[in-house]
Amino acid sequence: HPWETVTTAAMQKYPNPMNPSVVGVDVLDRHVDPSGKLHSHRLLSTEWGIPSIVKSLIGACRTKTYVQEHSVVDPVKKTMELKSSNISFTNLVSVDERLVYKPHPHEPDKTILTQEAIISVKGVSLSSYLEGLMANTISSNASKGREALEWVINRLNAEIEEFAASARGTMRNSMAAAAFVEK
């Protein structure tokens, strides 16, 4: 999909069926900088469906994980960069992600996404198995991310189609009415 389509969808990414754990999105700050780039700071709230026994131990209000996201959209250079890191009350593991969307250099109807994730563990030693598990989860989340945007793009297109169809219907009715009157 062209870069404009992907960028518009990325701004409206949630809710989507591939990320059911995202329960809230808020814009904390948004401004256009002197060079014309749009900066947005967003807060995402996620709820992981923790078993109720765990909830009763740690307290229900601590089951939400928050992700802080900073995005920069440059409409002239056509780049969108997203940096996100999780904030949580436990803060043992933090995941920082960086995504960059750019138009494909040779195919203008396509967009290239590069994605990297940095996993940091504070004060707890994880075995390499667990680290591998997290890395796998992150890479399968990356393809989930692409599916999610595909879903949003289809939804936006369907909304446009519906609007166009009802506009056509209205026009046909008015034309038929005008033809009838002319007779």
């Binding site: 701004m11 999105v25 904390l28 802080q68 959209v73």
Partner: protein, 76 residues
């Protein structure tokens, strides 16, 4: 999509609609002209700031855009 503060969801929806339209139809096409959603954003922001304080969400080093632009919220 809901807001982190349940009371803010309606304000958020109004702002989002305004922003998404401006973003796709003006900003991405290179038309400057400024963001027309400022008023909606301010109202929505006040609500969100309150909700974040109430829920004690530890957000670092962010300047909230509110009626007084120079305000900085520091939480650790």
């Amino acid at each position: 999509m809901n807001s982190v503060g349940e009371a803010c969801t309606e304000l958020k929806r109004e702002y989002d609609q305004c922003f998404n339209r401006w973003f796709a139809e003006q900003f991405l096409k290179g038309e400057g002209g400024g963001d027309p959603c400022g008023q909606l954003f301010k109202r929505y922001q006040l609500c969100v700031q309150k909700a974040i304080k109430e829920k004690d969400i530890p957000i670092e080093g962010l300047e909230f855009m509110g009626p007084s632009k120079g305000k900085t919220e520091n939480s650790s």
